[in-house]
Amino acid sequence: MLKIHKINKSFGGIKATNNVSIELKPHSINALIGPNGAGKTTIFNLITGKISVDEGNIFIGDNNITNLKETEITHIGIARAFQITNIFPTLSVKESIKIALLAKIHGLNNMWDRFSSHSVNEEASKIAELTGLTKVYNTISSELSHGDQKLLDIALALALKPKVLLLDEPTAGMGPEERWEMIKRIKELWQKTKMTVLFIEHDMDIVFDIAQTIFVLQQGSIIAKGTPKEIKKNQVVIKAYLGGGKK
């Protein structure tokens, strides 16, 4: 579904990604892990067109999306939820999801049309239900709990009906209970939508619990990939990331 082929990116003299190749199978859920500064968010920024790729290619299916504009990549089928929640703080949950749906439905065509609110309303309420936001549907986004704001960020990405959903630390800033609640929700979402998911996460218990494939990044290079079982046993990963002597 998503294929990253030997991408390189440097900032000044520093290599942020070094020949990174990642291939995600359709309908799979995958984790990208690595210590701080390993280049995880850079990879998300390269995939979404936020920053340009120096070398290499990125494909969604047969579409080469390398260095396309951010907006074009979104329309081809990549959506992203951010590490620092990115929402419309003064709009309600309902209005926010409707804006995302409007962006998806026609792009910038038919701008002066009175949009048919019936179908958009119906779709928005479905997305709220899917993300567990029905109870706070009419609440102003800035008044939501941190967890619900994260869910709204994901709901906005889901409204774009992406082929690939990128989640940048979906549990960042949450307490243990809230984290597991969020993970449960993401798992359900993935099972229901069957889209391809790639997420960045620091909590290894969470990663091992839900990821089918794990990609381990260190200093801009992929040092290992495999199932949770394989990664747990991988000596290079254990040495570099999971903490030396533990076996």
């Binding site: 329309h75 929402i87 703080p89 709009l91 804006i99 910038l108 038919n110 009175r114 409204a159």
Partner: protein, 300 residues
């Protein structure tokens, strides 16, 4: 101060109706210009000091079309559309370069454009007052008398046209997809971009719409008075007052504030004819003290 004159006016139906109609005319024309200014500020975060110059261009464009075609409607529409297109070019070539710049840079850019446009219109149309585009033939009829108040039918037409524009603007901003995306752009443009919307198109559209409104105001003003270089300088001050009173970025606030200022000018001319400008500033100061975010502005 002739406070008794004001009292007499209020209890005399002819004076009350006549001054109210006059206030509405001033207010509605002011709304056309101020709504564009507040729209641009609310979405783009730019205080477009050159907005008054766009109003002036609207007057000149309509005067030019009127002198060629002698068609009032065509002259007004051409003035508004011409300034809308000019605004689009202005935004694409200049204003978008200073969206995130320091306020001082934005002011300097706008002030340069004002000076250039003031000189350009003098080079093209001369430095003398032009006589305006006049009242269309259909309205060259005897005035309407309501309780002995004399109201020119054309003034009623101007009020109605401005109210229709205000209504259309409300429809656009609240009921269309464009309006919803404009609101979202004002709140979080980065998020909208992440959702796949090219916000540059929205921003250019907003600036074009704001310029169109300034041009329409200028074209209609050209029917009521003369056209001269620098005519936008006084309207921009009044528009700022309206924007501050109504709440920066609030179109409904601009509507309310325009009516308040229009009435203050109209009735102020009866009570304090030498202090009508002062009344406007006084109202602004009062609003800033009591409700700093403006009558319909949102607290930040």
């Amino acid at each position: 101060m002739e406070i008794f004159a004001l009292f007499d006016c209020i209890i005399t139906p002819a004076c009350l109706i006549s001054q109210t109609a006059g206030g509405l005319k001033i207010g509605m024309l002011l709304f056309l210009v101020a709504s564009g200014l507040t729209l641009v500020f609310g979405v783009l975060g730019v205080i477009n000091f050159a907005h008054g110059a766009l109003y002036m261009l609207g007057a000149y464009f309509s005067w030019q079309v009127m002198s060629i075609t002698s068609h009032f409607g065509l002259a007004v529409i051409s003035g508004a559309i011409g300034v809308g297109i000019f605004g689009l070019l202005f935004e694409r070539l200049l204003i978008n370069k200073v969206y995130n710049a320091d306020l001082l840079v934005q002011i300097l850019l706008c002030y340069s454009v004002i000076l250039i446009l003031d000189d350009l219109v003098m080079i093209i149309w001369g430095d003398e007052f032009l006589s305006g585009i006049g009242v269309p033939e259909i309205f060259q009829v005897p005035p309407i008398f309501i309780f002995d108040a004399i109201i020119p039918p054309f003034h009623i037409a101007i009020i109605l046209i401005s109210m229709i524009v205000a209504f259309l603007l409300w429809i656009i901003m609240t009921k269309t997809k464009f309006g919803k995306l404009v609101r979202a752009t004002a709140i979080n443009p980065k998020m909208l971009e992440a959702l796949g919307v090219n916000t540059n198109v929205i921003k250019a559209g907003v600036f074009m719409l704001g310029s169109f409104l300034a041009g329409l105001g200028g074209a209609l003003a050209a029917s009521l008075g003369s056209v001269v270089s620098g005519m936008g300088n006084s309207i921009i001050i009044e528009s700022f007052i309206v924007t501050v009173i109504g709440g920066m970025g609030s179109i409904s606030g601009a509507f309310l504030a325009s009516i308040i200022i229009g009435m203050a000018r109209s009735f102020g001319a009866v009570a304090m004819p030498l202090f009508t400008d002062g009344i406007m500033f006084l109202i602004m100061v009062l609003v800033l003290v009591i409700k700093p975010e403006g009558l319909m502005g949102k607290k930040k």
